[in-house]
């Protein structure tokens, strides 16, 4: 299976001369004033200013790919769009009269959950009735969450074990492996929750299955970064630089504390002692000045993105920082492949900021209790809101012949369809972005028969210029997606 995923034609990969692009990126970012909350100035974005912009014309600008995972399925009736001329069956099927067939439509309206995407409606596709057969129980019994998460980007069947994990390569890693050397980082793995890669998390499945959607190969999950600052360091600073940065930060806080002590002392001493303490102040000041100087030099080598040190607690801020990092990673061509887990499979976070105090996974077994369903839908909506933030941000950056969103494929969804019943078909899937012009957007596509998610993967890889023969249970390219 591995070998099947490997073949990649280098000739198809869009060129990206490396050259001094780092300098270009720096210039660009500083000029663009890219920091949280600051709008990007259209005229100064990468296409027009980056060092490599001149070397590649719009047609050969690289395609980027991001995959975003949410746990526990969704409230499907609220997720689904209404499609002009069709009626919905309870199972989600679309019927025109009595006719059931594959549906491709550009005439549709959002259901309530996806409304936050209104601003980018023309730049997304909603794909319906994709399935992950490998996620189904078959003979392995319980563990749908672990399987839902682990199959999400691999479409491979996880071996039920708590220690000797075995799965398959994930779609992002197929692309990343093929793109090694093209960018600073072949891929970027982000998450909001830490991984537990040992022990068992779901009915005898190793925690690695629930905690990772990105797998480098059958046995090696890609550890994800949950602290934005560390991801930032990984993207833009070498290990040593990061250690030095941390050390400077620590020294600065030490000096802050002791300067306070010295100031207190100063209030009590006479002239002679003051002169002695002045020596102290002078040395503190000089060391601080040196730290600042080094920091300024260091900052000059980094994108002007304010990423706080340490953990970020608030979900929304945390998620958006991660999205910012993905945007900046794509924009600077630091990486072309990224994955983000908004939560671990079977995740149990409470979203108190939108007044949902119950735990997500617990709620997902709603047994059609109206309250629970309403709360779940609120969560679904909230998560999509974050996606909206990301897509709009991408769409604000010029790239190639259009925007960064036009140059990208953003896969968003869950490995479960109905969280209550743990279904592995009719998955909630958004595919945003034009894939560099290969994907027509603004459509709802529903397959009458469930279609392997793996076929979407093949199509995405094709579009990335890193095609693969097969993945998981794939049967071929996804019909009607690529043009």
């Amino acid at each position: 299976m591995k070998s099947n995923n490997a073949p990649v034609s280098a000739a198809n990969i869009p060129a990206c001369p490396r050259g001094n692009h780092r300098l270009g990126r720096r210039t660009l970012l500083r000029a663009a004033g890219m920091s949280l909350g600051l709008p990007l100035l259209e005229s100064m974005t990468s296409a027009s200013r980056s060092a490599f912009a001149s070397a590649i014309d719009g047609a050969t600008a690289p395609v980027r790919m991001a995959c975003i995972f949410v746990p526990n399925g969704v409230i499907q009736p609220k997720w689904r769009p209404t499609v002009e001329g069709y009626t919905r069956g309870d199972d989600g099927s679309l019927k025109a009269g009595d006719q059931r067939s594959n549906v491709v439509s550009k005439d549709w309206q959002f259901g309530p959950t996806l409304e936050p995407l209104a601003a980018v409606k023309a730049k997304i596709n909603l794909l319906e009735n994709l399935a992950l057969d490998s996620g189904r129980a078959h003979a392995d019994g319980a563990g749908d969450h672990a399987r839902g998460g682990s199959t999400f980007l691999t479409a491979a069947r996880p071996v039920k074990t708590s220690s000797n994990i075995r799965l398959g390569i994930s779609v992002d890693q197929v692309a990343a492996t093929a793109l090694v050397g093209k960018t600073t980082l072949p891929s970027l793995e982000l998450g909001l929750q830490g991984s537990r890669n040992a022990g068992s998390c779901d009915s005898g499945y190793s925690c690695a299955y629930s905690s990772n959607i990105s797998w480098k190969n059958e046995t090696q999950p890609m550890p994800k970064e949950t602290i934005p600052r560390l991801a930032f360091e990984r993207m833009f600073g070498s290990g040593d630089a990061a250690v030095q940065r941390e050390r400077r930060e620590i020294r600065r806080s030490i000096l802050d504390v002791v300067r306070g002590d010295a100031e207190k002392l100063m209030r009590h001493v006479g002239e002679t002692d003051k002169r002695k303490l002045d020596e102290y102040f002078t040395s503190v000041r000089e060391i601080e000045a040196r730290i600042e100087l080094t920091e300024a030099e260091d900052r000059a080598s980094l994108p002007d993105l304010q990423v706080p040190f340490g953990r970020v607690e608030a979900f929304r801020e945390h998620a958006r920082l991660m999205f910012d990092l993905m945007v900046i990673g794509f924009q600077t061509d630091t990486t072309r492949v990224a994955t983000l887990m908004l939560d671990t499979a079977g995740g149990n976070r409470s979203y108190r900021e939108i007044d949902v105090n119950d735990q997500h996974h617990g709620l997902s077994h709603h047994r059609n209790n109206e309250d629970n369903v309403a709360k779940l839908q609120k969560i679904d909506h909230y998560l999509v809101e974050q996606l909206g933030y990301f897509l709009e941000k991408l769409d604000a950056v010029s790239d190639g012949n259009g925007t960064l969103l036009d140059q990208s494929m953003i896969l968003y969804g869950s490995g479960l369809g109905d969280g209550n019943r743990h279904t592995h078909h009719d998955l909630p899937i958004v595919l945003a972005g034009g894939g560099g012009g290969r994907i027509e957007t603004g459509r709802v596509i529903r397959y009458e028969q469930e279609e392997p998610m793996a076929n979407l993967f093949l199509s995405m890889l094709e579009c990335m210029g890193t095609p693969a023969q097969s993945m998981g249970d794939s049967t071929g390219l996804l019909e009607g997606l690529l043009s």
């Binding site: 019994g141 074990t161 000797n164 620590i250 806080s253 030490i254 002695k276 102290y280 060391i287």
Partner: protein, 896 residues
């Protein structure tokens, strides 16, 4: 009747009443002549003497109250019905002294013609002398040494010299001491290297000696704890930061950063003894008498958790017992495993076990004994945890055991239709995890005591760290800052920890940082003495001296006696304000001197007093090879040589011996190496590092026979009587010779009489130079006394011609033959000078500043106090500890 206020080396003391008599008779004023001392001096001397002799303890008591009541000077003993002693001294100066000075000195040192930038016209009046006391003292020294006037000028007679010096001296003394001498102020004092090292040692219980890599501290007034010269450069601050980070990284280690294991044994890695089958998820089945076993390697000694997932295959008799054994067969744990459905998880049981670092083999034995029988087995000798040895395991054949491993590369295939009758038990997995952080052996020894409670960790983040951080930091800061710590003091440190943990940092790392901050805080690095109450501030404002607080005294005591921080007992006493009480303070002083930490009085105080640091720069390899027994170069170090002298001082201090024994001691203190060098037997009963041995038989006596002292006062290739003489003048007699005038040729450049001239002949020639003669007469006669010893400090052979030089006559007709007699004569006649030197050095070291002219008043008082008992060393120290400059200070207030 006539008692001068003090006796200086080279000065006549003709007071028959004073004990011990005869003071020195020494050049240049060696021709003694009884003459009338001026009335002022005699009056004051009488008063001083009366105080010392009749009021005894009262004098001590007045010291304590010095700032408030003053009668430790002559001033309040104003029983003269006419004039104050000061006025009398001033009158005598004007009548006799000044005309002499004017006659012999002012020609070249006037305001119009200040040669060498010395203007003596300022010394005409009492006020002038008061304002220029440093100049006056310098002038006295030049006159006494006859360094001035130069020999080609109009020279005063010896009597005139003496009179001039005495009169000016009396005036200086009275000018200072009759006006309520001030205790003086000490500038904010940075910890020096030794203090820093010791403080770190005492804070963390580990002797890291980080300050050894700091730049050397400047020396002021002979000591490197002098507040005024101890500066703080940015480079040093950098070193402090680095040292703090290195220290805290050593004393606190995050267990998370250390190796640990979380290893699962299942399927192929879970070996089975006896027949076996494999289940769908790698479970391994055993027969009723089968066993599962694992080999696990643990990184460090500590307590590990061992989890076993297993279950019997039949409901009947469930739960059943299984036992865990180590390779020696010893029963370690008994598990009760319940039946589980075939497809479900197996029953989870666990135990904790302390394991040494390395490989361990653990066996899980299937017994199929129902758990309900466990009560019956309570006293069964086969079921005793930690006692029972299961022989089949103990006697297991290793080769056969190896056979039961699943061969590498083999994958177990699930068996179908397993017969649960034959295979009644299955093991799903064994997990070994650990060690538990608190139990691991590789954490720094003091970490637990230092950190105490560790806050809980949830979702990779330490929560509620404020409480534990406070609990740990308060006592540490209290000791580091040497005073009680308020919440306000503590807050920035605790917030630092909280901030770091909030952003996901490790609590351990955060505590490292907070403690690092404490170690670079000015409150740790500097000793600052400021008024602590409004009352004190008022007094300070009025220019009054202030008694130091108990807290401030705790630091003064500990940094003087230990060169380190106060310990818990001292801080506690300070908190209860007990150190202002002389009795209680004395108890602490006794305790502190009994503590090994007071060895710093040897390694710091005596070491610097006698200039032993200069040994450090010498190449000792040749020295090592020339002793009685040839030693390897690396056996002898500056430390070994210095230790001899330091130990002699500590001995005199702890045994409270008269200070003169410094010169006459017949025993010395050596380590085995130095004993070999000297050729004395090292007593077998002695400690390994130092022993007291008799050395007098080797022709050595006291400090002037110490190899180290003789070595450091020599040139690498020859003796230097001049240096040795100078060393004695400076460090024993306390009368350093004036610096050589500019342009004086060294010995080498002096014209040599003959190629084979002896050193003494050469020096005689050198001395013929009028610019050199006067000072050298003093220095050389002392230095030649040590010609018994060569430049390595070896005793010369009896027939060595140089031995002939080692005899002579000291002024006053004091003849001696050899170094031993010189030491004896000095001890007998220069006792007071030696005592004064000791007191001055102690006081200067204790208060961290150079003594000023007015401090002489306090020194004189101590001399008076200790004279009767021959200036015993501990008495001197005790007196220094109750002297006004030690107990009080003059505070400056903020200018605003």
């Amino acid at each position: 009747m006539q008692t001068p206020p003090q006796t200086k080396f080279g000065e006549v003391d003709d007071n028959p009443a004073r004990l011990p008599p005869p003071a020195s008779h020494f050049p240049p004023m060696s021709v003694t002549q009884h003459h009338d001392v001026d009335r002022g001096r005699s009056l004051c001397g009488r008063v001083l003497n009366r105080l010392a002799h009749h009021t005894g303890l009262l004098t001590v008591a007045t010291f304590l109250l010095a700032p408030l009541a003053v009668p430790y000077s002559c001033l309040l003993a104003n029983d003269s019905d006419t004039q104050t002693p000061t006025a009398l001294a001033a009158e005598e100066w004007t009548r006799v002294g000044w005309p002499l000075l004017e006659n012999y000195c002012v020609d070249c040192h006037s305001s119009d013609n200040a040669e060498a930038e010395v203007d003596l016209s300022n010394l005409k009046t009492l006020e002038g002398v008061q304002q220029n006391s440093e100049l006056a003292i310098h002038t006295i020294s030049m006159i006494r040494f006859a360094a001035m006037p130069p020999e080609d000028a109009d020279l005063p007679s010896s009597d005139e010299r003496r009179e001039l010096a005495d009169l000016l001296d009396a005036l200086v003394f009275h000018a200072a001491c009759d006006m309520r001498p001030r205790p003086g102020r000490t500038t904010a004092r940075r910890l020096n290297r030794a203090e820093y090292n010791n403080a770190i040692r005492d804070l963390f219980g580990v002797d890291f000696r980080p300050a050894d890599s700091f730049p050397s501290d400047e020396v002021g007034g002979g000591f490197d704890n002098n507040a005024d010269v101890l500066s703080l450069s940015t480079m040093l601050m950098d070193k402090y930061l680095t040292a703090a980070e290195e220290i805290t990284a050593k004393v606190i280690v995050d267990p998370e950063s250390l190796p640990k294991i979380d290893q699962t044994f299942t399927g192929e890695t879970l070996s089975i003894i006896g027949e076996t089958k494999t289940g769908g998820f790698g479970q391994r089945y055993t027969t009723a008498s089968g066993m599962a076993w694992i080999d696990v390697e643990v990184p460090v000694r500590g307590r590990y958790q061992i989890e076993v997932f297993a279950s019997p295959r039949s409901k009947s008799n469930s739960p059943v017992l299984s036992t865990m054994h180590t390779a020696d067969g010893k029963l370690q744990a008994i598990f009760e495993h319940e039946f589980r459905e075939d497809s479900g998880d197996d029953d989870h049981e666990s135990t904790r076990m302390t394991l040494d670092a390395g490989k361990h083999r653990l066996f899980l034995r299937t017994t199929m004994v129902p758990a309900k029988k466990r009560d019956e087995l309570k006293d069964d000798s086969d079921w005793q945890i930690d006692k029972t040895i299961y022989q089949p395991i103990a006697e297991m054949n290793t080769d056969e055991l190896e056979q039961t491993r699943v061969a590498a590369g083999t994958t177990l295939k699930p068996d179908k239709e397993i017969d649960f009758e034959q295979f009644p038990m299955r093991y799903r997995s064994v997990i070994v995890k650990g060690p538990e952080p608190a139990t691991r052996e590789d954490l720094p020894a003091g970490q637990k005591a230092l950190l105490g409670r560790i806050p809980e960790q949830r979702d990779d983040q330490y929560r509620n760290v404020g409480g534990p951080a406070k609990e740990a930091l308060r006592p540490l800061l209290r000791r580091a800052f040497r005073s009680e710590i308020s919440d306000d003091d503590l807050k920035p440190y605790v917030s630092l920890v909280e901030k770091m943990c909030e952003r996901g940092g490790s609590y351990y790392e955060a505590m490292q940082v907070a403690i690092s901050a404490a170690l670079v805080s000015p409150r740790f690095l500097f000793r600052v003495e400021v008024p602590e109450t409004d009352q004190q501030r008022q007094a300070a404002n009025a220019g009054e001296p202030i008694a130091l607080s108990s807290t401030q005294l705790a630091s003064r005591l500990s940094f003087f006696l230990w060169s380190s921080l106060p310990d818990e007992k001292l801080l506690e006493a300070a908190r209860r304000n007990e150190l202002s009480d002389p009795k209680k303070r004395k108890q602490h002083i006794d305790r502190m001197l009994a503590d090994q930490k007071s060895n710093s009085l040897g390694t710091q105080f005596a070491h610097q007093w006698f200039g032993l640091g200069n040994l450090q720069s010498l190449d000792l390899s040749e020295f090592a090879s020339v002793g009685k027994n040839k030693l390897d170069a690396d056996q002898v170090s500056a430390k070994v040589l210095a230790a001899e002298t330091e130990q002699l001082f500590l001995h005199l201090l702890r045994e409270n011996r008269p200070i003169a024994e410094l010169l006459t001691s017949e025993t010395t203190f050596v380590n085995p190496t130095l004993a070999q060098w000297y050729g004395v037997a090292y007593p077998e009963s002695a400690a390994s590092d130092v022993a007291e041995v008799r050395i007098a038989d080797q022709g050595r006596r006291g400090i002037l026979g110490h190899a180290g002292v003789l070595l450091l006062t020599s040139y690498p290739t020859r003796n230097s009587p001049v240096q040795r003489g100078k060393w004695i003048l400076e460090n024993i007699l306390g009368t350093p010779p004036p610096e050589a005038p500019p342009g004086v040729p060294g010995l080498e450049e002096t014209k040599t009489a003959a190629a084979d001239a002896t050193l003494r002949e050469q020096l005689e020639l050198h001395r013929a130079d009028p610019g050199c003669a006067s000072c050298h007469r003093v220095m050389d006669s002392l230095g030649f006394g040590l010609e018994d010893f060569d430049h390595f400090g070896r005793l010369r052979a009896a027939d060595d011609p140089a031995r002939g030089d080692a005899s002579g006559e000291l002024p006053g007709g004091r003849q001696f033959v050899g170094a031993g007699e010189l030491a004896t004569i000095l001890a007998a006649t220069e006792e007071r000078g030696l005592a004064e030197t000791a007191i001055r050095r102690m006081l200067s070291f204790a208060i961290g500043r150079e003594l000023r002219p007015s401090d002489r008043c306090f020194v004189e008082a101590i001399l008076e106090q200790t004279q009767a008992d021959h200036y015993r060393v501990r008495d001197l120290l005790d007196q220094v500890l109750v002297s006004p400059p030690f107990l009080n200070h003059q505070a400056e207030l903020p200018s605003s």
